[in-house]
């Protein structure tokens, strides 16, 4: 151990002017150690710099570019939806403000902090915003994530003023879907809404970024691919607070979606909706109603409606209180009864039964059949409606007075010739099968077949798992297991009216671009299927339907005879009063077309638990036909039967 030499004796006064060097070997060694440490430290720093800058330079340069590059997305308006004339706007866009955030500019704690502030401002949970950010980041990290849509000024303005407290957050000019006529054609139009979690991946695969509002129901959903616009993009330079600092690198303007022109005829649609509402109200017992008016030669839907209805603006503008009310309403206002409810068709089915029976050669139009107040078939008594007695009648009269016992006898013939044949013919008319209308959510209904019955009951009630004569007999009058909707009945009656063509119904007429050029014709390109009904069969059926509407003993005479009497069009059609559960009110039906000899319109209406067809459904059909231009007459001519003559 080297003992240090005390220099200066511990005080400044002892310092010599030019001392000997105080450097001892130990100190010299320790200074050398310091030198080595210094070289080591600088060496480590230089090596680290080499790795960061020379080896990792490219990657970090990319990161630095990512920092300053912001992709601003400008959302495009959707296409406009109009009626068949193109003049009445049914869906359009109104300007609104979104709050968006850029996931790449908000990472980790910074994101938590900003999302926390934003959640407080918006009155939502931070977690919900974090989930949206994560999902956006995983898919389109450089695009803004829409955190809130259609933000009221009361929130947007304070955020804009304090935007520095929300780095990485931006207000985005956007659009919200607007349905200027409120509830008008609500079920047909549908509405737009956020992409659901379930559909998220699906939409992403189709080129969406996940932020868009998409069509959720009705034609908004069906024609989404045309209606949706293409967002615009701008790439700009920003600073750390997200403020634009000058340079702009690329610009792509937004492109509005294509316009959709529907086949809907506004007077018809309005009349149909007004009538459904009126019938439900007048009946006192009805839960809802639905109706379809279509052109029997083309399948174009002129009017389609379901009651009760809803305001699609509630969904488009996220009015949660109203949405909850709709969802909790026992009358199911959002259900489209015209295509998605399933009712027994009742006596409206008899026109199809008669056609099938004649096609199968088990019924002749001139053959008189005894129609007493009740008959006994297979050890069971089958009564007529209200125990009415009709005597010996032929087919047209059976339709006119809507005799049940007449058709029960026909039912027995179906069964005895070959069971299940009646079902096959019902399906030929399109009953129990989807019509393939261009609307989402259509339900097929049901035509029971022997095979269906076995499958349906073999586990539940094995003793019932057998096709019985009663099934065949019940079906002749549209009861039993058969279930359908107004759309299917309108298509079936259109086939009677047009000579046997089963049409594919259509609500979309054409797609046009913003300059008005037709991009795609929809209505003129729908398939039709001819089921081959010869005139000798059609003529007596049509005759029977005319009599039912306007004949002296016709079930709907009280409604349509005054129209004919005043010079209005001859209507042909059939009432239906479909039994539901015992003790429950019947479903009221009417399906008809006009003018009877040169049909321009078919209308089918069902009033759910609305009573008899003549009283509660036929007037709705009458008023709807009255509103349509080609068959126009004064709707006040439509009579209202006060006495129920028949079903």
């Amino acid at each position: 151990m080297i003992t240090p030499r005390p220099t200066g004796g511990g005080g400044p006064s002892g310092n010599p002017r030019r001392p000997q060097r105080p450097l001892t070997p130990r100190t010299a060694f320790r200074i050398a150690v310091l030198g080595i440490i210094a070289m080591g430290m600088i060496g480590v720093l230089v090596v680290r710099l080499w790795f960061l800058q020379v080896i990792g330079g490219q990657a970090y340069a990319q990161r630095a570019n990512d920092n300053i590059l912001r992709t601003i997305v400008t959302e495009a308006p959707r296409g406009v939806i109009t009626d068949r004339t193109g003049k009445v706007v049914l869906a359009r866009n109104s300007p609104s403000t979104n709050i968006v955030a850029y996931p790449k500019e908000l990472v980790d704690d910074r994101r938590k902090l900003v999302m926390g502030r934003l959640a407080d401002t918006l009155g939502v949970t931070r977690y919900s915003l974090m989930v949206k950010m994560k999902r956006g980041e995983d898919n389109y990290p450089y695009q803004p994530v829409v955190l809130a849509r259609d933000v009221p000024d009361g929130i947007a303005i304070p955020v804009a003023e304090k935007i520095r407290e929300f780095p990485g957050v931006e207000l985005q000019d956007s659009f919200v879907r607007e349905y200027p006529n409120g509830t008008l054609a609500a079920h047909l139009l549908g509405f737009t809404g956020a992409i659901s979690d379930k559909q998220y991946e699906d939409y992403l695969a189709r080129g969406y970024n996940g932020n868009e509002r998409v069509g959720k129901d009705g034609v908004e959903s069906e024609y989404e691919q045309y209606l949706k616009g293409v967002s615009g993009q701008r790439r700009v330079e920003v600073d750390a607070f997200g403020e634009q600092v000058g340079r702009e690198f690329s610009t792509r303007p937004p492109v509005q979606g294509k316009n959709l022109r529907l086949t809907i005829d506004m007077p018809t649609q309005r009349a149909l909706e007004a009538q459904l509402e009126a019938r439900v109200r007048l009946s006192g017992t009805a839960r809802g109603a639905a109706g379809v008016a279509l052109n029997p030669n083309t399948g174009e839907i002129l009017g389609i409606a379901s009651y009760p209805t809803y305001d699609p603006n509630a969904f488009a503008r996220q009015r949660n209180g109203l949405i909850t009310r709709y969802n909790n309403d026992k009358r199911t206002p959002t259900l489209d009864r015209a295509i998605a409810a399933q009712f027994p068709p009742g006596s409206t089915f008899k026109a199809l039964t008669a056609t099938s029976a004649m096609e199968l050669g088990i019924l002749s139009p001139t053959e008189p059949i005894d129609s007493p107040s009740e008959i006994k078939l297979y050890d069971k008594v089958w009564p007529n409606f209200q125990k009415q007695f009709h005597g010996q009648i032929t087919l047209p009269t059976a339709l006119e007075v809507s005799s049940d016992t007449f058709f029960y006898r026909v039912g027995r013939r179906f069964y005895e010739q070959r069971e299940g044949q009646q079902s096959e013919w019902a399906q030929k008319f399109g009953i129990g099968l989807p019509t393939r209308i261009d609307l989402p959510g259509e339900l097929p209904g049901r035509v029971p077949t022997p095979q269906w019955k076995v499958n349906h009951f073999k586990d539940l009630y094995p003793t019932l798992a057998v096709w019985l004569p009663g099934d065949e007999i019940n079906m002749t009058v549209g009861q039993g297991f058969v279930e359908t909707n107004p759309l299917q009945m309108a298509i079936a009656y259109a086939a009677i009216a047009n000579g046997g063509k089963i049409l594919t119904p259509v609500v979309g007429r054409e797609i046009t671009d913003q300059s008005g050029r037709v991009v795609r014709k929809i209505a003129s390109a729908r398939p039709a299927r001819d089921i081959g009904i010869p005139a000798r069969i059609l003529t007596p059926v049509r005759e029977g339907l005319k009599l039912a509407a306007t004949g002296g003993n016709g079930t709907a005479w009280g409604v349509f005879a005054p129209v004919l009497g005043a010079g209005g069009p001859q209507v042909a059609g059939k009432t239906g009063t479909a039994e539901t559960a015992p003790g429950q009110p019947d479903h009221a039906w009417f399906v008809g077309y006009a003018p009877a000899d040169n049909p321009e319109i078919v209308v089918a209406v069902v009033v759910e638990k609305g009573g008899t067809g003549a009283t509660n459904a036929a007037p709705a059909v009458c008023h709807t036909i009255a509103a349509y231009e080609p068959t126009h007459f004064d709707g006040d001519l439509c009579g209202t039967p006060t006495v129920e003559k028949s079903n």
Binding site: N15, I31, M41
Partner: protein
């Protein structure tokens, strides 16, 4: 007269002066380029102030160079008392900047006594070590010097300014090392420090006692986490590495240094100025700055070996250690290999107190150089 001036000029270490001078001038340029957007409407706000600080610092440095530094050797307790007094005033009346209560407002400027304290601590500890040179290997001598350094360091730590407290620790270590304290003492001290770290960062927080503020723990541990770290410290570090890395070999130039001028890099004129240099001038510029520091340290250690008295020797060596520690800590934090503690880069970062202090240290070195022994 001419002869005296000539010999005075000849007695200066011009290489050291040149290296420090280059750094000071470069500093003004980088601060100017980095802060153009920082104060709306006044792009030269920080530049003008830094020029003033530098001029003041150089004047102070020249005065100290002309002063016989050994005359302070007997005033240890006065200096220490003065430092503790100033720190106490700050503690009571000070201004809080970025979480640390370390500044006293003086007119338009605010002074940071803990910065000046670095040089004071070097002088005080060196003088006390020299006084006790006869028993420098004794354990109580080491403990005594630790105790002297601990008082101001504790106050600074409580401000809380962990970085400066660590510099005090580095100064103490350097003084003990150059004075000749035995290796066993350093080994023991190292063991104590490691133990304390484990206790403060690991065991005590786990049992609910928080010695460090949350932000301090986060800064200290951010650099050991992965590439994309969490929290504000992690964000700073991430942006710093991005700035440095994106500079590449030769840099993007001041106009295109978007990390800096678009404000992604926080504290770009103070703690993270090295990242600014690296972004603007690339590996060439950053390594050039390190080369200048290498020259400065070489000149200081050379002088340490040549000092006229042991007091001056320890002072010179401790100044070298102080600059070395600050350099490594600051640049290490910029490049992500050291924890984030608010230590400025000597001669380069914006700031009055630390510029004055570090240039003062150079003045002291020049004073020692004038009186150096010949080889």
């Amino acid at each position: 007269m001419g002869e005296r001036v000539r010999s005075a000029l000849l007695s200066l270490d011009w290489i050291l002066i040149l290296a420090v001078g280059l750094l000071l001038v470069f500093s003004v340029h980088v601060i100017d380029a980095a802060t153009v957007n920082d104060v709306p409407g006044s792009p030269n706000f920080f530049t003008d102030r830094q020029v003033l600080f530098t001029i003041g610092a150089v004047i102070g440095g020249i005065m100290l160079a002309a002063f016989d530094i050994t005359r302070l050797q007997g005033m240890s307790w006065v200096l220490l008392g003065g430092l503790l007094g100033a720190l106490a005033v700050v503690f009571v009346l000070g201004t809080t900047v970025k979480g640390a209560n370390a500044w006293i407002d003086v007119g338009p400027f605010n002074l940071q006594p803990s910065e000046m304290g670095k040089v004071v601590m070097i002088l005080v500890l060196s003088a006390l070590a020299v006084e006790r040179m006869a028993e420098i290997t004794a354990r109580r001598t080491t403990l005594f010097l630790v105790a002297v350094a601990a008082a101001p360091a504790a106050v600074v730590f409580l401000q809380p300014d962990l970085g400066t407290a660590l510099v005090y620790g580095a100064i103490l270590t350097a003084v003990l090392f150059l004075a000749g304290a035995p290796w066993t003492h350093f080994a023991t001290a190292a063991a104590v420090v490691v133990g304390a770290l484990v206790l403060v960062l690991g065991i005590l927080p786990a049992s609910g006692v928080h010695v460090l503020q949350d932000y301090q723990v986060e800064r200290l541990t951010a650099f050991v986490n992965g590439d994309r770290d969490s929290g504000k410290a992690g964000y700073q570090l991430d942006q710093s590495k991005t700035a440095i890395g994106s500079g590449g070999a030769v840099g993007k130039g001041p106009e295109e240094a978007t990390q800096t001028i678009n404000d992604f890099l926080p504290e770009h004129h103070t703690d993270f100025i090295f990242a600014v240099i690296a972004e603007m001038y690339g590996f060439a510029g950053a390594a050039g700055v390190l080369l200048l520091f290498g020259i400065i340290l070489w000149r200081i250690l050379r002088l340490t070996a040549r000092a006229a008295t042991q007091f001056e020797q320890i002072v010179a060596g401790a100044i070298g250690a102080m600059i070395m520690f600050q350099l490594f800590q600051n640049v290490g934090m910029n490049v992500g290999i050291m924890p984030i503690t608010g230590i400025p880069l000597p001669f380069v970062s914006y700031g009055g107190s630390h510029t004055v202090t570090n240039v003062a240290a150079i003045g002291i070195l020049l004073s020692i150089h004038r009186r150096r022994a010949g080889l």
